[in-house]
Point group: C2
Chain length 196, copies 2
DNA sequence: AACGCGATGTATCGCTGCGATACATCGCAG
DNA sequence: CTGCGATGTATCGCAGCGATACATCGCGTT
């Protein structure tokens, strides 16, 4: 899902690997880093897929002595038309893949570029996912509570509270979101709206 | 670090893969699952390394028709002497590897089997690690705040608060821990104590 | 003037773990 | 007697991480 993040970032301006990684750190914050070990291979894959292209141009600015081995200028990437299409497609994605732990954060940072309806759907999906998990854990916990030592119990408690906290956060966001949208009809509008 | 978790679980009683996984879910709770995709290969690796051994015995209880293809009874594993050694070694580990995101939870669930001094050291290490991360994010955030849209900002804020929360939790735990131990001298005892 | 160090920059390698999937058996409810 | 959900073992491809290597640039110190 690094792909989505990269696409989103490049949509604003062309960037090279290093910069991309800085931005990734800046936008994702506490959530993840996306090391170079994933970035560069992904960039290559995306280039091969035709979603992004190398935007040579200011390479000579840096290239003081480019004749060493096989040149070493910075490689600036920018979105292609296909890339933009792909981005739009991924941004419209409001299915389970969007509310998974690893993916949700990325989607969230791109909410400014996301359709309001999709935003709400992702937020709600994420919340259900979390609630499911919480109930699952609670159930297992109820069954096994007796067997567990106090440390493990404390960990469970803490984990459960964390989930609770995120659920509450999401709920607030959803309400704000609803308030800010023209409120198209009440409750579950549904009736689909361009599902791929 | 599934290895540590498995070692810790098997230290209490012999178990087979499926059961191991149930226990893993029960003890780790919200933190992770450890799918079969990691469990079984790990089990094999550990067996090959000599840390665990297959404890055949009640295989015939289940084996109604064992002659099918190449038998299919449950495989019960138990700790070997080497396994116990390895467990003790890993349990004494209080270095950076113990306070990483993925590892910390596992260490924590095994705290009942861990030396009190090591417990405190892990807790403190984890806290510093978190504080470092928080400051790092805060710094980047201060530098880039202006460029970020409100959604991204909210994500940052939420993430930061989560980290804060865990730091507070750890602080409480550390205090409790100190209170419960005979308090060997005051503050940073240090002077080392069997570092591998 | 020389030195080195930290930021910038691209890239690879091995490893851990995940999710999906396959397959087989058992006990039980309809 | 039929099928379904729990029990049980196992593999495959993939994403991402952390460590590492290497090269250049701008900077302040000595």
């Amino acid at each position: 899902m690094l792909e989505l993040a990269v696409l989103g970032l490049l949509h604003e301006s062309p960037l090279h690997g290093y910069e991309l990684r800085q931005r990734l750190k800046a936008t994702l914050g506490t959530f993840r880093a996306f090391s170079y070990g994933s970035l560069y291979p992904t960039l290559r894959r995306m280039r091969d897929a035709g979603w992004i292209a190398e935007d040579e141009g200011d390479a000579e600015v840096v290239a003081g002595a480019p004749a060493l081995t096989g040149r070493r200028g910075k490689v600036v990437y920018k979105l292609t038309a296909e890339g933009k299409e792909k981005l739009a497609e991924l941004l419209a994605e409001a299915g389970p893949s969007a509310w998974e732990d690893e993916t949700f954060g990325v989607h969230f940072t791109l909410f400014a570029q996301t359709d309001p309806e999709v935003r709400v759907r992702i937020l709600e999906g994420r919340r259900s996912r979390l609630e499911e998990r919480r109930e699952g854990v609670r159930a297992t916990l109820a069954r096994t509570r007796a067997r567990l030592d106090s440390y493990t119990l404390q960990l469970q408690e803490h984990g459960l509270e964390s989930v609770d906290r995120e659920v509450r956060w999401l709920t607030e966001l959803i309400e704000t979101e609803r308030k800010n949208t023209p409120a198209r009809s009440t409750g579950t509008t549904s009736k689909k709206a361009a599902r791929p």
